[in-house]
Amino acid sequence: MDSLHAIGFYVSSGVSLAGALGVALMRRRDHRGLALAVVGVGLAGLYLTLSAGFAAAVALLCYLGAAWLLAGRGYRAVMSASGPVWRQAGAVGAGGLLVLLAYSAFRGGFVNGAFRGGTFGTESIGRLFFGHDALATEAVALLVVAALAGATAAWRARERQR
């Protein structure tokens, strides 16, 4: 990756993370929608610098659509029943998740072990998923999509019965 792409990557990273913080912290719903659109622009830039042009176009379209939905007229507020203690516990858990994921990203091989593909780690798992076992990964994705569609259909059927 040359310097121009690297600069684009780091600028897009900053844009997407700033937009994500805006989604998490802004009070007004139109501002949150705008922040989600900024996340979409940053994510599309990240995909472009990683040579994934088609994913960049689709992500930009989908995130702009989601931002329009969040900032649009159809938005209604539904308040959560969970108390402040659970929300604070969730925020602390999100911080712990960040530490865990950053440690995993830094270490790469997060457990000591070996298998027939070599050393166990992020890169070897990626090679297995996207090289050797691509068909199995596609099958799992298909199962997840079928489960989501089934859950939506079941919910709609229950709503009609009410």
């Binding site: 994500a20 998490a24 994913a55 989908c62």
Partner: protein, 91 residues
């Protein structure tokens, strides 16, 4: 200046963590729903980064497929959530 898999995974971790924070912290459920696309964005970025840097022979289309699937799923999830909240909630 260069970019590697670790840098991509760091950004992906940040997006996932901020999404989890938004989903947990917001008192309003429809606003908390906006955290889910952030988590999906982090997951999609990790998929694209792994196929860009870890798979031999350059970029593979499968990581892009997953990123596209996650982007569409996140938009559909927001549409479903806003639609359900529109039936139940107040303006």
């Amino acid at each position: 200046m260069s970019v590697g898999l670790v840098a991509v995974l760091f950004v992906a971790a940040g997006l996932v963590a901020v999404g989890a924070f938004a989903a947990a912290w917001r008192r309003e459920l429809t606003a908390a729903l906006a955290g889910v696309p952030l988590m999906f964005a982090g997951a999609g970025l990790a998929f694209v980064g792994i196929t860009r840097f870890a798979v031999a022979g350059g970029p593979q289309p499968l990581g892009q497929e997953f990123a596209v699937l996650l982007a569409i799923a996140s938009a559909a999830l927001v549409a479903l959530g806003v639609g359900v909240a529109g039936r139940e909630g107040t303006r």
